[in-house]
């Protein structure tokens, strides 16, 4: 029983830490506009 309680407590703490990291982590904002275009014209002169 003690072992089970400890395991559940460990899982709960791990989940809490993961949730905090997940919420606080920043993966950057993906580009919302624009795109890739081939270099040409004045950029290659």
């Amino acid at each position: 029983m003690v072992l089970l309680r400890r395991a559940l407590a460990a899982l709960g703490i791990a989940g809490l830490i993961a949730a905090v990291l997940r919420l606080r982590g920043t993966g950057g904002t993906p580009p919302q506009q624009g795109g890739w275009r081939e270099l040409s014209g004045p950029e290659l002169q």
């Binding site: 993966g27 950057g28 904002t29 993906p30 580009p31 919302q32 506009q33 624009g34 795109g35 890739w36 275009r37 081939e38 270099l39 950029e43 290659l44 002169q45």
Partner: protein, 331 residues
Amino acid sequence: MPARVLLLGAGAVGARAARQLAEADDVEEVLVADPDAKRRAAVVASTGEQATDAGAHGADVTGTVDAVLLTSPNGTHLAHARRHLAEGRPVVSCADGIDDVKDLLDLGPEAEARGVPVVVGAGFSPGLTCVLARHAARRFEAVDEIHVARSGTGGPSCARAHHRALAGTSLDWRDGGWQRRRAGSGRELCWFPDPVGGQDCYRAELPDAMLLVPPFPGVDRVTARLSATRRDRITAHLPMLRQPHPEGLVGAARVEVRGRQHGVQDVVVLGVLDRPAVASGAVAALALRWALAGRVPVGAHGLAAVEDTVGFLAELAHVGIKAAAFDGTAT
């Protein structure tokens, strides 16, 4: 006068470089050397009349060549580069290991004394990415940051190097000093030209910063990242579980340069999409021809030392390796 060049290494990159050199007007003969006789013969046969078998290490033809291109696996470049540099020949190396690049850059004083170029890291990345960084930097009075990212691999040696790079120690430049961090950390979502698109990239044991810091004095940050899957990262510390493919699929590289122009900060993102071995071969062959033509400064350096980036990129575009620019905003 057309030149005779020695190509050491007949792998995926060497085979492409041989073809590019054989088609060039300023190259008379390509002498192909590789310890693997079967592979060497296949490259000679597929390259055409201008290619000749030069044996395992090209020792018999050394005195008759004008320049040397090293496309063999990492760890084999320094001895060849030293030998040919001592005889006053331009050397171009596709090495992309930190130790190899450091050793080759250390040949700088001798190369300057002899008045010949030693081009280091002349492949897809580093190599083409160094040219793109220099090209993007033309827009700025001062360059603050350069961030390089790469996705994909060339031949089997490149795949092995990719595997090792994710298990090593990354080398970044930050605020005037070298910073070593664990490879496989520092996830960043990087956007490559389509169809590669967004890929999670991580720190890795890559030599890009060593090649990009010297040509940009005053730069604050230089980083290099490699795209990787979860499986790549989990298995990075294990031996490769299966034989690498003969050649990787389409790959991409991108260079993000941040700088200032008239006191205003801005960012330029340039990229390229191609099969890494094909692009590496084209870049290496062009670098060798430019080294022979005196269009690369003497000394040991990467391709960021090339001043005429427009000419370099235009010649690459002519053989189908086309750079792209990203126009977009994050908001």
